[in-house]
Every structure is written in C-alpha cells, then in structure tokens.
C-alpha cells in the first residue's frame, strides 16, 4: 500500500532519506508550476522550489503531522513567493519610482493587458498564453495565490484558507474578487465578440 505524505515525512524524520526523494519527485512539478505562475520567472521559481524542499528537510526533526503535508508545503512556498516578490519590488523601486505597485488586497489589477495588446480574435496561441499569464500576474498577490491554489492545484477551500492564513469565508470572498478581476482582464478571450466590455466592467 502506498504510504501517505504524512507517513513519508515521518519516515524522513526517522532518518529515511529515500522517502524525502519520493516527496521531492512527487511535488517538484506542482511546486515549480505554482511558483512560476506566482513570480513569472522560471529560474526564480526553480530556486524557490528548491528552497521549499530545503526547508522541509531542515525541519524534518521537528515535524509534527498537525495538518496535511501539502498545506505545510504550499504554505512555505507561498511565503517564499511573497517574500521574493516583495524583495524584487523593493529592488525595482530603488531603481525607479514608477515601479510603485498596488499591494493592497482590494486594489485594482496592476496593468490592463487589454490596453497593451492589440485585441484580435485571431490571437496566436502563444500570445493567448502570454495574455493569460499577464492577467494572472496583474492580480494582487494574495488573490493570485488563492486563484492558483484553487484553479491549478485544485485544493479545497479549507486547505487554501489554512495556507493563506484566513477564514474560509474570507477566502471565498478573495476568490470572488480575484475571478471578477480576471473576468475583466480576460474578457477579450472569454468574450471575443465584445472586447470593449472589458473597460466598462472594471470592478468597483
């Protein structure tokens, strides 16, 4: 019978490094993808994912299975991603005062891809992916993390709420605002017939 993640982690705690390798193989891809979508840079995402595994390994002796393993793993990943984005922003702000970006939970998306790109139903697939990527990146960080965990990691509300350290009700509200923002951002792709609605329906 396959061992649960918690059992694997308890085996790592007991000194079994092969169980750590198993967890590494199982979660490297979800973690790298989550972090890549958070920070939008492949090399940074890989570095951060490695940091997550290093932290897990370092903390093995103190590991207590109080929550799901994935909750712990993605909580570390989310915190590292938020720190990295914050550090990056500080670096950019040191160079240019224009880099000031909305950090607030309810702030509007940072950029409007609809304005930057020529809207066309025949957008190439590559352009569509870049468009989606920018739309997700335009979300305030906590909204972005919530959407990624919900949409791509398919986690349930309770687990995402634990990862983001909020209540389930707050999470649902966060997700609603995030998808409202994305509905505006992605309108040209969702409703190619009526791209102009994107501007009219900016969230209040």
């Amino acid at each position: 019978m396959a061992r649960s993640d918690v059992q694997l982690m308890l085996d790592v705690k007991a000194g079994d490094d092969s169980s750590f390798d198993f967890l590494l193989r199982k979660y490297r891809s979800p973690l790298v993808n989550f972090l890549y979508r958070m920070v939008r840079d492949r090399a940074t995402a890989e570095d951060l994912a490695q940091d997550v595994f290093l932290r897990v390994y370092r903390a093995r002796k103190a590991y207590i299975p109080s929550a799901r393993f994935t909750t712990w793993l993605f909580r570390i990943a989310t915190n590292l991603a938020l720190n990295s984005l914050r550090d990056n922003r500080h670096e950019k702000m040191a160079v240019s005062l224009d880099a000031a970006a909305g950090d607030e939970e309810d702030s509007a998306p940072r950029d409007l891809p609809a304005r930057e790109m020529h809207i066309d139903q025949r957008l190439l697939e590559r352009d569509r992916v870049a468009f989606i990527q920018r739309a997700i990146a335009s979300l305030p960080e906590k909204q972005r993390a919530a959407v990624l965990l919900h949409k791509y990691e398919e986690m349930d509300y309770a687990e995402i709420a634990k990862i983001l350290d909020c209540t389930e009700a707050a999470l649902k509200s966060l997700l609603f605002r995030a998808y409202e923002n994305l509905r505006v951002q992605l309108a040209p792709l969702v409703n190619p017939q009526a791209p102009q609605r994107a501007v009219e329906r900016r969230p209040s």
Binding site: N33, L54, Y152, K172, R183, L186
Partner: protein, 170 residues
C-alpha cells in the same frame, strides 16, 4: 436570494460544493437575474481560458540541485544545537579555561606536600599569630562558639573582656 448573497456562493456553486437546497436557491436566482447569469457563465469561461496556460516541466537537474544544496549545508554539531552563537561559545570556553587555570594554581592547592623550608616558614607564622598580644588566651579563641554564652563584660575578668573586644572588632 439576492445578487449579493449569490455572489458569496457563486464560486462554491460553480465548484459543485453546495448542497441541494443551496444549489436550488442559486439556480432559481440565476434563472431570473441576467447579470448574475452572465457572471456565472463568464466565470466558467475564465476557468476554461485559464486551462490554456500550460504547465512547465522542472529542469532535469532540479533534483540533483536540491541534493547538492542539501550536501553543501554545514552539518550542525550537537554543541551548535545548544549554543547557536559562535561568540557566546567562545566566551564560555574562555571562562572555563580561566576557571581551570585559577583552580590549578599551586599556591591554592593544599593537597600538595609542603617543601621543608615552606613548612618551617608556616610554623613560624603560626607561632607569631599565636603569640599576638590580643590573642593571649589561644584556647578560648579556638573555641569561639563558647564566647556567645559569656557573661556581660562588666562581670568578666579582664582578659576575657579583651577577647570580647577582639571579636566585635572583627
């Protein structure tokens, strides 16, 4: 059900996480409210569009890099677990060294046998102290405990009064 309430439940509804009665209420509202219906449809559209964002594969050297970084980590000794700061550890070691050095000094070690000359000098010192004027009655001084039970100074012989004086001066 009002639009506001439906907004709170919309994600759960689209995720299929509502129970039957809640689902019924949302669907009833959606049937009569075009704005909420459009929103629900477009949320589904957003999810569908988001599926176009392809997953990436971690680089081939990812695992090796993690293992390399783990191997590079300095192994923390058991001492480091108790004393995380190197300067604190150094201070503790210096303190212990100083204590040992002081304790090992020969002059303060009575277990070492005395040299003949040293013994004679000690004997001389002892006699000098014994013959000090204020300590005329050596036997009484060596039984100091008894002094506390002495009668008041006015009723005492002269030499005992001197001794009492010595004690109180100390």
């Amino acid at each position: 059900m009002k639009c506001e309430k439906v907004s709170e439940e919309l994600i759960s509804y689209l995720d299929g996480k509502l129970d039957q009665s809640e689902r019924g209420e949302v669907e009833e509202h959606l049937a009569s409210c075009a704005a909420c219906r459009t929103r629900a449809e477009e949320f589904r559209g957003v999810w569908s569009v988001m599926d176009e964002f392809p997953a990436i594969e971690p680089s081939l050297e990812f695992d090796a890099r993690v293992r390399q970084r783990l191997a590079e980590e300095p192994r923390r000794s058991w001492v480091a677990c108790f004393v995380p700061q190197a300067r604190l550890a150094l201070a503790a070691v210096l303190l212990i060294a100083l204590t040992v050095w002081v304790a090992k000094r020969p002059a303060s070690n009575p277990s070492l046998p005395l040299m003949p000359g040293e013994a004679a000098a000690n004997e001389q010192d002892f006699n000098a102290i014994r013959n000090l004027g204020v300590l005329e009655n050596y036997d009484v001084v060596t039984k100091m405990d008894a002094l506390s039970e002495l009668v008041p100074a006015s009723k005492r012989p002269a030499n005992q009064s001197d001794l009492q004086q010595t004690e109180s001066n100390d």
